[in-house]
Amino acid sequence: MKLWQYVLRRLAFTVPVMLGVTLITFSLSNLMGDPVAPYVTEKTTPEQVEELRKLHNLDKPIPVRYFTYISNLLHGEWGYSQQINQPVSEAIGMKFAATLELALLAFAVAVATALPLGIFSSVKHNRWEDHWIRLFALFGSAVPIFWLALILKYFLAFQWGEITHLPQGYRYDPFLWDLEDPIEQRTGLLLVDALLAGSWIHFKDALMHLLLPATTLAYVSMATTIRLMRGSMLDVLGEDYVRTARAKGLPERKVVVNHAARNAMIPTVTLLGLAFGGLLNGSVLTETIWQWPGLGAWAVDAMRNADTAAILGYTLFAGMLYVFANLVVDVAYAWLDPRVELSGDVGLAEWVIAGLGVLLLIVTWFSVDMGLGLGRLLLYGLLLGALFGLGWKLRQDHRDFLARLREYLWVPLLALGTVLFVVGIFKGYSTEMVLLFTIACLVRLTLNWEDFVAEIPPRRAELRRMAHQLRRNPLALLGLFIALAILLVALMAPFLAPLEPGQRDADRMVEHFEFNHDLQPPCYWSCTGERGEADGYILGSTSKGYDIWYGIVWGSRTSLDVALKVVISGTFIAVVLGVISGYYGGRVDEIMMRVTDVFLAIPGLILALAIVAVTGNPSIEYLMYALIIVWWPGFTRIVRAQALTVRNLPYVEAARAAGASDFRIIFRHVLPNCLTPVIIAATMDMGSIVLVLAGLGYLNFGGGADVAEWGKLVGFGQAHLLAGNWWAFFFPGLAIALWALAFYLLGDGLRDILDPRQRE
């Protein structure tokens, strides 16, 4: 198969995914409350309301509205952004170039620096160079991007701005570009335009403006790429062909570059799409801080102003970009690895789905009614087909059909249990749920007490080995130490930062922001000023007099609460779905994977933002729902991939051959062997969930007014940045970074300890 055919085929397969994404955006638009409400005043007559509803198509049933939506999208009518008084599609077209320029430069910088660093790190495995690069990379994943941007802005562009001549924001110097010497902007990418016009001054100006935002954005992707490259290099360096290359007499440098790195590139490249998604996430925050006139900053404005059309348009567009980036990555992968067969083996079902998706789009493009008809037809056809299939099965083995149904009874029971558990956690019964779970575990333990006791001695050696590994891994120990310290702070919050009504009340975070004008610098050790205890703040205050130390201490509780709840319930959902999907495979797996595809098609932070912005409910509970929705698909995939490998291992086949039931195989053999990657991923996600939470908080979607949250604190703290108020954004951001770093270090360490391949 030719490469272009392959590209075409992959393009066709993105159609169903994109249709799924439109389903998400469409449901979000329906969550938005009554779209007519903003137009209705006391004077609006019921007739006029009716008129408005008709105008917005609200009098039609939902399927009709969905197909109208699709048809509009296809015809380039993406709605109207009230915020900037412009059609959404036009706004995207205008702002895309700015984001693209920033993202591409950041991506290029990231990849160009990360690959050599990753290679170097792996060559110096477990030596100090390796430790430093690993720390640098982990720190990159752990710093909240908005915090890094603020630090760079404060120190490089503001404090030392005289020396560096770096601008404090925006894309170009308006004086130069708009008035003094306008040059033709043919591509919209300013660097390219300046080059085309042959103007060094313009080029330099654009580059200076790009420098800090691009660095900020690049660091995060760079960090991920370093870690990926280092990991796959370590795998590859142990391969036989590397030994062959050495036995050939090749110098070590050539062995590493020509043989190991080329092969290590392959897994790295497949995950570069992921890095690009991170870039899109980061661009939202970076652009907001640097006032970059791109898509991200526009989307944040739209979210703050509940500009639905713009939010959904942006979400959809981000999804399209991400899907496209992954397409490019797939093609690059096929090109890099000669073993990939372009023709592949694609099931008939996939072809049919892709074909029907394309057909549906074409029909809808011509007429909404026809599209609707076809959609109905497909839906009914699918239902009929499923019923028919079920009936066929019934006819085939009607005798033991009921018996088999009973055998599968645990599946719906398990699903029900999971739902109850997750809902319980979010509805404020988390302690009870955890208690229940612990009791269940204990009961199970006492029932199998003999087995448990029998397993202790062989496990002891294993535990000793783990402890030894941990002791040898200074970075993991550091992570453990920080995590425990933060945990302690959260536990001791009432003692470390006592509630003092009026002065230090959690409820007053926003209130202070509104009224008080009392900027206090940090007084580090001695804070008993002339007016008594409350006069000074150890870490200073925000410009409105809110105690930073207080916010950090109580914010640790919020972070812990959200991270634990999201991780625990996310893990629960993911383990149940992932194990079933991976173990049974086939149709179940197919459906599950397509659903996760759709959710994963939208970069995480953007989806979470869209959900929070559109529901318009700022409470922490809704934040957690948003985080769960963003989190479960990736998690499920990890579990599913593991279950898929375990399922084919000899001991599972042996258990099946011995006549064990599915239930027993899944819970005794598959699940315990899937736990290692789950534990690692869950540990890491304790960090990344807080990062996303802080990102949301920074953009002022950080739970209700009565919640102390680190990201929100950074957002409040940046207010007087240019008056020299650095502490108010610095310390809360440091807390976020330390938190994330702790769990990343711990997760990385756990991977080294639990992964038997790394043993030496």
Binding site: E239, D240, Y241, R243, T244, A245, R246, A247, K248, G249, L250, P251, N258, H259, R262, N263, I266, L336, D337, P338, R339, R465, H468, Q469, R759, E760
Partner: protein
């Protein structure tokens, strides 16, 4: 030609020091095929990696001497070692598919050896030489094979490519580490035949590492039998099969199907090299063991036939 004397190699792992080789000595003479036989994990491969100084980072040669035509390899500089690897001693491995770089064309991988060890003026000359070595290993359509990726070739063809890659540096000696283990039986014999032909045509010295006594009988001139990191017996191949001296060798031959009416396994288990038995490493399984065997490790004695056993004379 290649002399290994009292080689001691150890691996420093978390679980402790693995005493992989404990005083291995043998000599490979010019122009012969020398077999190194033993069970999996007895240290055959470690011996060769020690020779070419390709041990993983945890492994270290503690003592002993390795000389190639009189030159000490353990003292040679790293750049000299690179000349030796592929240029004087080339190596082929067990599983050709994983030993070949999957993303590089076969011709390019062979060309690397040519560039390294052959003074050829330009890329055209290298390409000619690549096709030449592919012809030497009886590759049908050498030009086409050079353009293929490893996974596009069959297992036998892949092993031919490995051998061609080894020959490309015009080495004096070839170390073949279980070259036929991963191959089908019919292809095994083709590869073995090729090795024999190369020995006759190019006067190549071969150190053949295998656990397969059949291969040894078919191909080798002389054999050393390894057990748990030591050499227990060295002999010309016919004598080894007709008159095995060391109890382990006897047990090994008796365990071959067809050697007697019933299969006679060697009793006991291969020792854990983290805590090897004291004295002779074979004594816990040995039918002849006496008190002295527990205390004192026997030395390899004898001239053309060498045996390391207190109870048996060479």
């Amino acid at each position: 030609m290649l002399r290994v004397e009292n080689l001691v190699t150890r691996f420093h792992t978390y679980d402790g020091v693995v005493r992989a080789l404990e005083g291995v000595s043998f000599e490979v003479r010019e122009g012969e095929i020398f077999g190194l036989v033993g069970e999996t994990g007895c240290g055959k491969s470690v011996t060769t990696y020690s020779t070419l100084r390709l041990l993983p980072s945890t492994g270290r040669v503690h003592s002993g001497r390795i000389t190639l035509s009189g030159e000490s390899l353990l003292d040679a500089s790293e750049s000299r070692m690179r000349e030796v690897r592929g240029g004087e001693i080339a190596m082929i491995f067990q599983d050709p598919l994983s030993a070949l770089n999957p993303v590089m064309r076969v011709g390019d991988q062979i060309a690397e050896s040519v560039w390294l060890h052959d003074d050829l003026p330009d890329a055209d000359a290298v390409a000619v030489r690549v096709e030449e070595v592919l012809g030497e290993v009886r590759m049908p359509d050498p030009a086409g094979a050079a353009r293929a990726f490893p996974h596009e070739l069959s297992g036998g063809m892949q092993q031919r490519v490995m051998i061609a890659m080894a020959l490309a540096g015009r080495p004096k000696m070839l170390i073949a580490d279980e070259p036929t283990t991963a191959l089908d039986v019919t292809i095994q014999s083709q590869v073995l035949q090729l090795l024999r032909q190369l020995k006759q045509e190019a006067g190549l010295t071969v150190l053949l590492i295998t656990h397969d006594l059949g291969v040894v009988a078919e191909l080798c001139d002389r054999v050393a039998v390894m057990y748990a990191g030591t050499i227990v017996e060295t002999a010309p191949v016919e004598e080894l099969f007709s008159d095995p001296k060391h109890p382990y060798t006897q047990g090994l031959l008796a365990a071959l199907p067809g050697a007697s009416e019933t299969l006679a396994p060697v009793p006991g288990r291969v020792p854990d090299l983290l805590a090897p038995p004291s004295g002779c490493r074979f004594h816990p399984r040995c039918p002849l063991a006496v008190d002295r065997c527990r205390a004192e490790a026997p030395e390899l004695r004898g001239d053309t036939r060498q045996v390391a056993c207190h109870e048996v004379e060479p």
